[in-house]
Symmetry: D2
Subunit: 419 residues, 4 copies
């Protein structure tokens, strides 16, 4: 314990630099697989810390390896891509960046999911661990993953030979900043984050002048009717005791008011925790889309394209138990909570699944404690506290950064520390 | 009559050149107020014909004046902008052009409304009239108008001093190619084309991660519910004996499947022939949009922005009678039909309204006669014959071009010919 | 003219009795094919007038024949059934009657369509014609038809041998009270009233406890989605220049809040003036109903039952011209107007169609003139003037009654009067 | 144990009679507060068993008291009303009964929720307990409750002085037959059945003839749009991790296809397990109903009438633990399962709440074991196994009856048996 406090002591020396780094990353977000600036900065810092650095793993991923004698191999994972969201936080380090989305559109970009904090905390933890290398033995594989937001980065790294090119881990650890009380950490054993299936749906109508609906098969109406009908999947087809989400995150058709376009595009996101529910919901979405095309008299079948395919993230019970205990020792019992399963998705689990080893993935709070408590008391958490992917989402830098560095460091040492 | 046939005889000499011109214009469409290449070509040709040419009238409009002694002043009007439509005609002179829409997006551009044919026919008619200037007396004001598609070009020219800068017309004439039998012409006295009101509607929700609908106010659902409800304006609120159209030509919200966006945009186009109906429909659209925002629990009122504001186009009974008779003399009774009112809109009428003089605006067919008759017999006109603004719309060059040149020339001579 | 005024003079003698009769009929409405009391009263009065009376023609229909020497045979037709509507007029002779609908339900009954006035006026006209029998020659076939509201009575009388059992008419005349200025009459030549197609649609789901939607296929949602989608037939599939109405007059599913029922019933009414439009709309309704059942995952196809099948009512141009002229002579030009086609339906035309003779059917106003003019000026006719089938619909007795008797008498005499 | 087996032994003697009773009750169901025949039969049998019997407690309820020396007082509760469902089981003892619902309609009646089995089992258990009265001491208060289906019977009995007129219980026990494996029993400690709120919603439009939608404010469309919008409460406003159900069990408007009615009625049922969710959902339903009336241009606000108001049923942990253990001793561990919370509702909890004593309420299976297992393996439980309130729901008589009698007897003896 005394030892570990000494490890963490160095955080006071690097906190200003990490804060600087965090704000710089926040101001310079990059879309999935376009994280070139971010990857270069990560690589530069890993090299400065003395790790063996490999870049362009799975297109833009970075892996740093720190070998420190015999002992277990621990994979630490941070993701580093941002989102096509127009930042509205009003922060002085807010992003004004733009990027090009997969369809070639120019879009705003924002770290609306906190991956900038993940990178910062993991680099901070690595700094502490390097400084304290005499207190532990083993190998750290530090993964900086691209393209988590589109569920493609972990798979891309694995497909790029990750398991063969780097030391095989014994355990995979990672963390995510989340809109609860900053300073606190939470996790759950078992199914921890939902499966997520992304579908791009294209519905085909027939275009015509806006004044001649009788000559058209109106895809705007077709798509709107479909959106309304899709609400019934969760409201009527999923048992109240099961959990599923069907979100149409994007609807697009036409450009002018007076031209009826010839097609519409929906982007549908499906969440579930159970394979049977997942299959039913996907089938129901497809059934409804097809039937609404028939209702509209469409002459061409809708098309479905798979956008993402996240599996359920399962936290290993033993590893989760050990990690919980380790963090409680450092942070105190009341700051390490059991969370309910989160209806969000992550591809972090693919590393453990591919390697056949257990995973533990936890959350750390990013919301100002006072604000959080006030909103909780008022029952207005939903309204007042921006959640991940909101244009208003940004963690308070402290104590978020300190908690994230501490949690990652302590969790790694639980496996690596010399006894 | 012999005289007039002589006037039209020259068409054989210039038909090849006009055809070339038409295909060149078709292959090089330009969006509203961006018709720089088109305007330059028009100006070049007007100058070659010896007209007094003024460019940049109402931003990109061109006016040619031909003074030929004492007599009436006839305004001939062609519009020359194109549309943000991706051409799918498969023609060898199909457009592959792109342009920038008012929102800054890069979009495909196509002459999907036949304005290229309007320009070609009016230039052809002017050539014939110049060649036959000893047979008539008076003044021709040849208007080549920009930005008809957004209902802004005629007003822009008028606001730019059109009435003061050019001879005041006694009558305004114009024509539009339309998906009926090529070789034929049609018109109607009285209300001839509908009023058109374009509204951009922005509905405000609250963004959240796609897995947390409870933290969002989903604008995709809000907008879709609104589209479905807007259908009831025409189906339930407009008397069966009245005419109205409510088209949502564009719906846009979000970019990714797993982010619930914070707003949605609808572009709504409203057609009507009667002021009372027009007011009721516009009010009903606004009522529904506002109520659906309330139903969704929106925290911010929807916003409405006026996009277009076309008045009803009213053909003067006397002028229309004379024009009909004149065209029948040349084309034959069966090729000059009375059409029902067209539920499309035009700003051509603004010239006559501003000048306080009568207008006659007619339609000429652009569809291959055989195809037209076959589809008419089969009752599949709607399915088989692409209408204006369709990505498949393109007039057959002949006899469309010959008919358009002939009609414009004969109509002008009805007012100008020496008796 | 002097003669005819003499004929009408007797109206002053019988007006009080007719008023009494009207109020009695109004207070005692009977549903379609259940008009036993009404038929008995009609038969009694016809006999008193000396006509040959036949009852139970087409179940509850009554026919009176008045032979008066050589001359044309004129069919005069009044319908006499009422509607399942709960009267809310507040009149002292308002109905409090109830009846049994075709499904066996006990329902309120009201003369909400003015058939009581039709009967009264036709009996009044017959009285006048009997009294003036020396002034005309020919035969009157007075038809008192049941079950017009369900489009079944005329066909039932024809199927019951009407054409063989009674003198063949040369012309068919009839009239309907309508919510415009009392004292006035209106009609139009050609298509005068719309085709009407009534469909009963049954959609099949699967019942379950209200807390177990996952075990149900919810027919309430299925039917509601269908109603919303049906709005698009008129708003998107019918040309703005065509006329069609799709009304879902009744929706029924379930009885308790906490049981999801296993089926839903819609009653759909379709109006049109053109056979091609009619066919398209009926097909579109069926397409949408079937597709919405598929969207819901229904295990059984929806069922369609034909409720009514009214053809377009076409007024013969010659007969309509003569009738208009005759009424103008008596009522004055300004009280006999040309009306636009009415989007209501009638089976009166079946008599003429079956006999191969022309029909003229006109409307007479039932709304207090002051109220009518005030609402017209205020543009609130729709809101302030109850229309047929409204629970508030009731003609003002005068001058409605006088006008109806006069119009029917004069129209008959146009054909029968000795020259 | 040996003792208890002796107690249950008598079941062989009375099983035929109980089976007879069950089929008789099933064939003669009665609606809520109309259970006169049932109450009479229950009273007759309780008297025959020697209990003190009081009838008409809370209108039609029956209470039997069996005093057997000093000891605890155990309340045993069975409910005995049936549902307005048309039985479609095809059983030879199927109901053909009809009744009058609260709106005065004649409706079919069926024991579609198994209350006939509850009555039979409780009478069987009382018979066994009377026969074995030397083995236990204390007081049994046997409650036969009316009107559970409308959530009114328990409250009615309490309002009728139940707590003052009968011995105060120390514990409340009850059971419900459910569509799982017959022979098995299941329960859960804590929130066990959901809150249920029933709302009757009346939406007001304006009636008109079906051909004149412009004169109407169509309540069929208004109600259908509302139903579609209500789906979004569960799909968008309730957190995926929370549980809620919004069922529109009944929609009614209009009677004829060609009359647009002037109002529509929805019956909405809301389920939840958490007070905050409950309040949010009820408020959201009201917000949507009101906004959809505004969207329709309604001139009168919708009205809400409370139909039912079931609280959450909470099983006391200690009592549930003891009961589970007691039943496992008799039935075996594998036949007494822990169930997830049930999204159905019950007013049984009101007795315990009013008396301030703990409740345990369990479920016993009613589905043939072979059928159940086959459907479970096939993943077709939802499709193949009729649930409560289905027209096909009927427990297999055995081993359901034996299990229900056994469970009730053993649970009572857990508190009453002489040690």
């Amino acid at each position: 314990m005394g030892d570990l406090e000494a490890v963490l002591g160095r955080l006071d020396d690097i906190r200003a630099d990490l804060t600087e780094l965090y704000k710089d990353l926040h101001a310079n977000p990059e879309l999935s697989f376009a994280e070139h600036r971010t990857a270069a900065e990560v690589a530069r810092r890993l090299e400065a810390l003395g790790l063996e650095v490999t870049t362009e793993v799975g297109r833009t991923g970075v892996v740093g390896v720190l070998r420190n004698g015999d002992g277990p191999t621990v994979l630490l994972r941070a993701d580093f891509d941002a989102l096509p969201v127009l930042e509205q936080t009003g922060l002085d380090y807010a992003s004004t960046c733009r990027g090009t989305d997969p369809d070639g559109n120019d879009v705003p970009v924002m770290h609306a999911c906190g991956h900038d904090m993940h990178v910062t905390c993991q680099l901070g933890a690595l700094d502490l661990l390097v400084a304290a290398r005499d207190r532990w033995a083993g190998t750290i594989v530090a993964v900086f993953q691209p393209a988590e937001e589109i569920g493609a980065g972990a798979q891309a790294m694995i497909d790029d030979g990750f398991l063969d090119r780097f030391p095989k881990p014994d355990v995979c650890l990672g963390q995510h900043v989340f809109p609860f009380e900053a300073g606190a950490v939470g996790m759950i054993s078992g199914p921890s984050m939902s499966a997520a299936d992304g579908l791009k749906v294209t519905m085909f109508g027939r275009g015509a002048h806006g004044s001649q609906p009788q000559n058209a098969i109106d895809p705007v109406v077709m798509a709107s009717a479909t959106v309304m009908r899709l609400q019934t999947v969760v409201s009527r087809e999923v048992a109240p005791s099961d959990t599923a989400v069907v979100t149409v995150g994007s609807i697009k058709a036409g450009t002018k008011d007076n031209i009826i376009p010839d097609q519409a595009e929906l982007r549908v996101n499906i969440r579930s925790f159970d394979e049977r529910v997942r299959e039913h919901v996907i089938a129901a979405v497809q059934r409804i889309v097809r039937a609404e095309a028939i209702a509209a008299g469409a002459e061409r079948e809708p098309e479905f394209e798979r956008l993402t395919d996240f599996p359920v993230l399962v936290n290993d019970p033993d590893v989760t138990g050990r990690t919980t205990a380790a963090l409680r020792k450092e942070l105190g019992d009341d700051r390490v909570q059991e969370l309910p399963p989160v209806v969000g998705s992550e591809d972090v689990g693919l590393f453990g699944t591919a390697a056949g080893v257990p995973t533990c993935y936890w959350f750390f709070g990013g919301t100002d404690r006072e604000k959080w408590l006030a909103a909780k008391d008022a029952g207005t958490l939903n309204r007042d506290i921006p959640s991940n992917h909101s244009p208003f989402f940004a963690p308070v830098v402290e104590p978020t950064l300190t908690t994230g560095v501490t949690a990652m460091t302590m969790a790694a040492l639980e496996w690596l520390a010399k006894s």
